[in-house]
Subunit: 130 residues, 2 copies
DNA sequence: ACTATAGTTCGCAACTTATGAACTATAGAA
DNA sequence: TTCTATAGTTCATAAGTTGCGAACTATAGT
């Protein structure tokens, strides 16, 4: 019987800008991180969670959380059978002031724009139909 | 004889946060972009340029510039035999205010830290030797 | 011990990236 | 105009990365 490898959390000095940008350059991962950072610092990773209108397989979600963790964005700990993930925003804010807020803000702007575009498209479709 | 495909520049609405983060999640590309944005908005892409203490093959450099261009970070135009690349920072600042400055600032902090660490290592080595 | 639930690991197919070799594009000289 | 040099692009391919189903580990509550 094989043992599971322990969770890896880089120390704050080992966190890189490239690592952060790469981790957040995936739409699913920014969405997860935005939720985590917004609500504010506690969330649970469950299987086939609805992230950005899409059902994600649990193995994929698990990999995404690993990516966030190993980039230093998130701290994960077991709470019984579940996983407890918290944003490491305070630490990162100290090392790279303003970086995460700027990314989250930009992400917010983009989501709002997309929502607006979708709404417009639906309205147009309804006009055409009616 | 084949013709070369024209340079692609996304329009400002088509630029995504994910695209920007992905483009800048590569150490060579942030280094290039930081130079471009810092000096301020003009630079030339030449073969085997020294970027961050490393000689990059020209085909690779060309792909990196393409990545920056197609993410919307850079505008490229031919100037005779050379390429003229300018940062699209103004446009992006309008769409995602504060995003690029925050990334460049974080990149600066990290570079400074790395330089400091390197210097310390050298000093230690000299002490050991002398 | 048995069952249910939550998440991880493995293996592989699909995708991406780096790079040398061959090519295109332009400028300037002969 | 043809020749040569320079700057950059494209192509092929090898190496690396990612997404996901199936099988597994870990924990809690019977």
């Amino acid at each position: 019987m094989k043992i599971m490898r322990p969770l890896i959390h880089p120390s704050i000095e080992d966190i890189t800008v490239e690592g952060i940008l790469h981790a957040l350059s995936d739409p699913v991962r920014v969405a997860i991180y935005a939720q985590l950072a917004g609500a504010p610092c506690t969330n649970i990773c469950s299987n086939f969670q609805q992230i950005s209108d899409r059902s994600i397989p649990k193995s994929t979600l698990s990999q995404h959380f690993r990516a966030l963790r190993e980039a230093g964005l998130v701290r994960s700990e077991r709470r019984g059978v579940e996983m407890h993930n918290t944003s490491r925003c305070m630490e990162i804010e100290q090392r790279f002031p303003g970086l995460l807020p700027a990314i989250l803000k930009a992400h917010g702007i983009q989501s709002a724009d997309q929502a607006r575009a979708t709404r417009r498209k639906q309205t147009t479709a309804r006009k055409r139909a009616g």
